[in-house]
């Protein structure tokens, strides 16, 4: 086994699915136990932002990070109207990767991806070897509403989702947020296109109900996968109460806090998340 901290080469490719070609990043020995990472509304597997995190995982596993339709040029958004469509699209990806019930992957998801992972785990428990929810959305906790994702200024959003404003992604968002309307018009469109596309795709799943499935609380009892819930204490977008509620509703779930972590944990604390996940896989 490789030590934590080493990383393995990742390959990004176009991958055919029933709704069209999607972007897929893969790495590690394909004969190892598979791990699937489901991304957040930020569409972070579309760049090198989570390469370190996925690389750590790939040291000991076959790692797959598919991009949902609408993100990073993945096709088929016209056939995705809600989280259920996203679940069945993801099962299609699993099937095509050979991740059937005889070879179920560890499934980890951050934020939107965590919601998708949870939906998958209660609908098809046999397809999920273990479940890791990282600052997942998907549950509404009365009294603890999620902050607004849509229509925010870049810098305001960066303050809510990053603990360290000097992180390269946070710094880029702060730069865009500092521009006046006349300067924005001068920004090359290719710089903002991925963000606009990601938000449009996320809106299809999470506009209303706002990033939750009202039926989720009475479904989570069906989850059989060993579950790890990871929560960033400094998450300004999704209240910690959501992760705590997941941990309460999923039988046997383990809850771990990252004290210095905000929302984008796989970007800011790839080593911490990987260590927690490897512990979880091993136990």
């Amino acid at each position: 086994m490789s030590a934590i901290g080493s990383s393995t080469e990742l390959v990004t490719e176009r991958f055919p699915t029933a709704v069209g070609a999607v972007q897929l990043t893969r790495g590690g020995d394909p004969s190892r136990i598979p791990v699937v990472y489901l991304h957040s509304s930020g569409g972070e597997t579309g760049s090198n932002e989570v390469a370190e995190y996925l690389g750590h995982l790939a040291a000991d596993h076959a790692v797959y990070a598919p991009m949902l339709p609408g993100f990073a040029g993945s096709e088929g958004l016209d056939q995705i109207d809600d989280i259920e469509d996203a679940v069945y699209h993801t099962l299609d990806v699993f099937d095509r990767l050979g991740l059937g019930a005889n070879n179920p992957p560890h499934v980890a998801g951050m934020s939107l991806g965590g919601w998708l992972a949870a939906e998958l785990a209660w609908r098809h428990p046999e397809r999920v070897r273990s479940l890791t929810l990282i600052n997942a959305v998907g549950l509404y906790v009365p009294g603890s509403p999620m902050s607004e994702l849509f229509g925010r200024k870049f810098d305001e959003l960066a303050a809510e989702v990053f603990a360290d404003q000097t992180h390269p992604v946070a710094a880029g968002m702060n730069l865009l947020g500092s521009l006046g309307p006349k300067d924005i018009a001068a920004v090359p469109f290719e710089m903002v296109r991925p963000f606009l596309e990601s938000m449009a795709a996320a809106a299809k799943l999470g506009w209303n109900p706002y990033f939750h499935n009202p039926k989720m609380p009475r479904r989570l009892g069906r989850v059989t996968a060993p579950t790890l819930v990871i929560v960033g204490r400094k998450d300004g977008l999704v209240p910690n109460a959501v992760g705590e509620e997941y941990a309460r509703l999923i039988a046997g779930a383990r809850l771990e806090y990252v004290d210095e972590g905000s929302h984008m944990l796989t970007l800011e604390h790839p080593q911490v998340v990987t260590r927690l996940m490897n512990d979880h896989f091993g136990g």
Binding site: D81, F150, G151, G180, P181, K182, I184, A185, A186, F189, R193, L196, E197, M199, A200, A201, A202, A203, K204, W207, N208
Partner: protein, 388 residues
């Protein structure tokens, strides 16, 4: 050309210490119902006065949960105007179709207004503003497909014998059988307002409807928008009729240029600095990426970001001056834009009643006759509704 008086029905009473947006989150505690009683009645009087002054039409529109325009139901206003005016076309510009569920409600209410007015309705249909998707919880990523499906349902309800079944993606009604039916056959003239989204332009061109350019941008943005509209019509295999294009612009006339600016400027700034903030929010998926890329070019010229009066005049954000100046500028721009409908905003922001009435009078007597003589023609070459 056809001359319309458009009223936004702005809320003039935002307190001076409130500097937040006028949309979505503008606290409704700031609305004074007593002031509401005064201004609704005053604004209706101003539209009725346009009828008496011989305008071709009046326009109302729909916005929700904001101080910019307090007409959540333009159909209520239009139904009053249907009774209290006798000549003008009544343009509802428009009903935000995705906000009506089921949209057969629009077919019914528009047909009622058309019946009551004896066939004077212009049926405006609009996707709805960005803020409305926050205020209604409707998914903006489905705005265009909902709009398109609702439009098909409404036109079908007006033109095909009922009852019939309508099974769409968003609307499923087993018995569509709209009563009443509109007076104008096969259906009232349809107007679509837009801010330059390519999908809207293509939709309007495909259906041979009329496109009303949403204002508050530099005149060059309008020029580009109407050129795109003419190109879209060409792609559909026909030449756009000027009466398929409408230019919406604030107009203020006084005896001299100096007096006009003196009386008008502060009311204009109330409008752009107090009522526009928040209007331009574009929720995710509401505008396609290709349209965003196209519209991004004009965004820096949005009126909210204006800083001084010279910019206002240079960019033709408002046409302000003596009757001679206003006539000259309108003539220039109507030629430049190639539009056949002029939609004047004769009341704006906090502009008081007496200034608004005098503005309407000066326009009707000193400007309108010359414009009509210079740009004759008030009927579409091919009647609307004669197309699929």
């Amino acid at each position: 050309m056809r001359l319309f008086s458009f009223h936004l029905m702005p809320y003039p009473g935002l307190p001076s210490d409130y500097d937040g947006p006028a949309w979505i989150t503008c606290p409704n505690e700031l609305f004074d119902p007593g002031l509401g009683t005064q201004i609704y009645n005053r604004y209706l009087d101003e539209l009725i006065y346009a009828d008496e002054l011989g305008f071709d039409g009046v326009c109302v529109n729909e916005h929700h949960q904001n101080a910019y325009g307090i007409m959540p139901s333009p159909n209520l206003m239009a139904s009053i105007l249907a009774r209290q005016t006798s000549h003008v076309r009544i343009a509802v510009v428009g009903n935000a179709l995705p906000l009506y569920d089921p949209p057969t409600r629009v077919a019914e209410e528009f047909a009622m207004i058309d019946c009551i007015s004896g066939g004077r309705l212009i049926a405006g249909m609009v996707v709805g503003g960005g803020p409305e998707y926050y205020s209604f919880g409707i998914n903006p990523a489905q705005a265009r497909e909902r709009f398109s499906e609702a439009h098909d349902l409404i036109i079908k309800a007006w033109t095909e014998p009922g009852p019939f079944e309508f099974i769409g993606k968003h609307y499923r009604i087993r018995y569509v059988n709209s009563w009443p039916r509109p007076v104008q056959q096969p259906h009232p003239e349809v107007w679509i307002p837009g801010a330059g989204s390519l999908e809207t332009l293509e939709f309007v061109a495909r259906h041979h409807y009329a496109y009303m350019g949403i204002p508050y941008f530099h005149i060059s943005v309008f020029e580009r928008m109407f050129n795109l509209m003419r190109e879209a019509c060409e792609k559909e295999g026909y030449e756009a009729d000027p009466l398929q294009l409408g230019w919406l612009v604030p107009i203020f006339i006084a005896d001299t240029d100096e007096e006009a600016r003196r009386r008008y400027e502060k009311h204009f700034w109330y409008f752009v600095k107090r009522l526009l903030p928040g209007i331009s929010i574009s929720p995710p998926g509401y505008t396609s990426i290709r349209s965003l890329e196209s519209m991004m070019k004009g965004i820096g010229t949005f009126a909210e970001y204006l800083e001084d009066w010279d910019e206002v005049i240079e960019g033709q954000y408002a046409i302000v001056g003596s009757p001679e100046t206003v006539l000259e500028r309108l003539t220039e721009n109507v030629e430049r834009l190639g539009v056949g409908n002029l939609l004047g905003l004769f009341q704006l922001g906090t502009l008081p009643a007496d200034d608004t009435r005098r503005n309407l009078e000066l326009f009707a007597t000193e400007v309108a006759p010359a414009l009509r003589a210079r740009f004759p023609g008030t009927e579409r070459r091919v009647a609307t509704g004669a197309h699929p």
